[in-house]
């Protein structure tokens, strides 16, 4: 932008008359659109490679929900780049081109609006919004429905400041660490014994509040084995920072043997 120094294309004396002041100068528009296009391409390239520049930018994608969320995060960012660049490039171009060093008593051209431009701006932002809403609704419907397969229910209870996990289909086994079988849909039924908590497993991209006296639900479909963290995401008092549990996503066989062992311990404990 060095060739567009201050005053490089300053309009004539605006006091010379309104007619000269509003005369279109397509050179500026063309230049700024080219810069905008280049900046957009560079911006999108940056966004698409951000996770390479910043290791661990997103939690490991360990569920089908997380895949949808990660894709959407990237997709929305790509959509946002041209819009943001539109504002920034036009503003930066204006400053670089028409900046004055000090006040000289001169005014710019008396342009007080452009009905066509204003209408276009509002309509195109409305269209963009409409698209985002439709996209969001589709994704929401997808996330809200139970994933296909044999559902495993886990009852999650939050209390200050720990999580308890109960497997009602396995004789009410209750643990303080969560184990889940891979590639099997899970239904979490979440509640709280005292105050609001929020049950969050970043790697699975699921979160639902634990509300006293209510049962809230969320589905997840873990797709990758590994050890992750479940945490409380709603400020719940003194030791909120430490309200977290280990989450292990195990192979089907691994899960069976783990839950079997738990059942034996639980049975002996007289539960």
């Amino acid at each position: 932008m060095a060739d567009l120094g201050p005053g490089a294309a300053a309009p004539g004396n605006p006091r010379g008359g309104a007619g000269r002041g509003v005369r279109p100068e397509p050179r500026h528009i063309r230049r700024v659109l080219v810069i905008w296009a280049i900046a957009t391409v560079l911006g999108i390239a940056l966004v698409l490679n951000l996770h390479r520049l910043l290791p661990g930018l997103l939690p490991p994608m360990a569920s089908s929900e997380a895949q949808g969320v990660d894709f959407t995060l990237g997709f929305f960012t790509v959509l946002a780049v041209p819009v943001a660049m539109l504002v920034w490039v036009f503003a930066a171009y204006s400053i670089a081109t028409w900046r004055v060093r000090r006040f000289e008593g001169l005014d710019g051209p008396p342009i007080s609006g452009s009905p066509v431009l204003q209408t276009t701006w509002i309509l195109s932002s409305a269209l963009l919004c409409l698209f985002l809403v439709v996209y969001g609704l589709a994704l929401l419907t997808n996330v809200s429905a139970a994933p296909p397969g044999r559902l495993l229910t886990v009852d999650v209870t939050g209390q200050q400041w720990q999580w308890n996990f109960k497997y009602p289909s396995r004789g009410g086994v209750t643990t303080t660490t969560l184990a889940l079988p891979v590639n099997r849909p899970i239904l979490f039924r979440v509640t709280s014994l005292d105050v609001d908590h929020s049950f969050w497993i970043p790697a699975l991209a699921i979160k639902i509040d634990a509300i006293p006296g209510e049962v809230t639900t969320v589905y997840a479909m873990p797709t990758r084995e590994g050890t992750y963290t479940a945490r409380c995401a709603e400020l719940c008092g003194l030791y909120h920072s430490y309200m977290q549990s280990r989450v292990r996503v195990l192979s089907a066989g691994g899960f069976s043997s783990w839950i079997g062992a738990q059942e034996r311990v639980w049975g002996r404990g007289g539960g």
């Binding site: 930018l57 008396p110 996330v143 006296g213 995401a233 709603e234």
Partner: protein, 614 residues
Amino acid sequence: MASRWWSQSVLTGVPMGVVTALVAALLTRAIGGPSASDAAICIGFVGWAFGFLGGMGAFRYPRTLLLARPDPTAEEEHQLAVQGGGPWRYFRFTTDHKVVGIQYLVLGLVLFAVGGLAAMLIRLELLRPGAAAFPPATYNTIVGLHGIIMIAGTIIMITGPFGNFVVPIMIGARDMAFPRLNALSFWLLFTAVPVLLCAPFLGGFPTGWTSYAPLADQAPPGMDAFLVTILLFGGSVAVAGANIVTTAITMRAPGMTWTRLPIFVWGAAMTASTLGLMVFPAFMAAMVLLGLDRTLGTSFYVASGGGSAWLYDNLFWLMGHPEVYVIAIPAFAVIMELLPVFSRKPLFGYRTAVASTTAIVGLSVLVWAHHMFVTGWAPQLNGPFMLTTEMISIPTGVVFLVAVGTLWRGRIWLTVPMLFVLSFLWNFVIGGMTGLYLADVPTDYQLHGSLFVTAHFHYTLMGGALMGFFAAFYYWFPKMTGRMLNETLGRIHFWVTQVAFNVTFLAMFYVGLQGMPRRVADYSAQFAAGNFVASIGAFVLGAAMLVFAYNIVSSWLRGQRAPSNPWHAKTLEWQVPTPVPLENFEETPVITSWPYDYGAPEPTPEGAAERAPA
């Protein structure tokens, strides 16, 4: 006739407030027994407010009315507006809108200093993993104090100082519609400050500024201080809002038609103040119910008694989201007011801008449940609330068109206020765009409650709205104080702030995306790098504010004398002398054109106003 120098001042207000508070608290304790300690604290604080206002002389006029005494004479009104003159009038019940504006400005800056200090302490705790700096209860209280002080501070930061000082002059009025209510609104706000600062000494409060019940039900007595603070603050917002809206509707000079009204008056007075007045009672209602839960044993938010945390969430966010626009719209208005001045061009799309601002106000009361996507309340409503939330980005986006359209082909004069206007354009785009992910329900499931949200709203409220405040501050400071701010220090303040702000909160986006929850004191090693950067950025930001503070103090005391119109602007406040005389105008101005006729074929050199006999 003239009252004594110490009457109607903090010298009478504070002792009376303290005595009333003690009497009220002890009486409650005596009647209710030891189980009434929460009630005693609440009633004591309310007593403080009444006693203080009584000592300030706020009830003199109501008493005159009640006892059917003669109405105040012109001389008495004059005395109330001047209050002896000199700096001492800033500590008295003074009705001159310019005094009230300065009072709001100073109190706002003090609030920012305290809230900013709390922010530094938070970042100190988060500098490294391990929560080494504070015990957990202290840390939670610091988080809550930072939140509520900054929210309250940003609500008043533009409408308080500039709405009071500038708006009446801008519309050609001699004062606000209700000068006594104006003084009352400030001193009512003032009563809330010591109440809130008592909270840490009453065990603090663990809830953050959102004060979610039922955690707030079981919190220590610091919570009582918090809830009374909200009631006092809400009362002040209602009184101030009613006053400024009435002023803008009824006090406009002849010829100041709705389409000639400066955009700042539209934003700060007409729309934002109406919204504040209409939504803050929801927070007050939520706090009254919380107070009853805590003192009388009701169970509005207690599940075992039939209550619900979702009830609190709804009441809170009914206020909570519109309140964001109560903060943001005055900042938009400042941006749009300053752009024409420093681009030397008419405001681009004035009517669209006014319509958009009004549309934001209308839509803002329909979006509250987007804060509740993950609460599990009414999942069938997630779709509709996603729709309304996306819709509000349409009128908000118009601000950018107005900004870019005004800049384009202007003669752009990069003064310090203009720099802050431009930083708004950078920061608020990021703040707005990151809102997309939070409006979209499935991505919100992941990001809600994380530091991503914290970074997002700091980009809108700090990078956006607070930059609007800085712009307004540098712009109107010469008119309000008669002194110019030091420009070099202003530029240092700007550049350090802008860079450090972005470093801090981009790092916070990073750790938020990684999965770090907000409002924690400790975190695992994977978040260490981002937090370290964010903390260093925040400390540099704090240093920038020290430069700002030094600039304010030194310029106010010894700065260069300000000419009456240093920016060559055309709105009315720049056409009156500096310092502004008590009556603002010698004769009522008659308005013949709008204030943005820059580059008009035959511009009037003096500006928009042509004096004519009233």
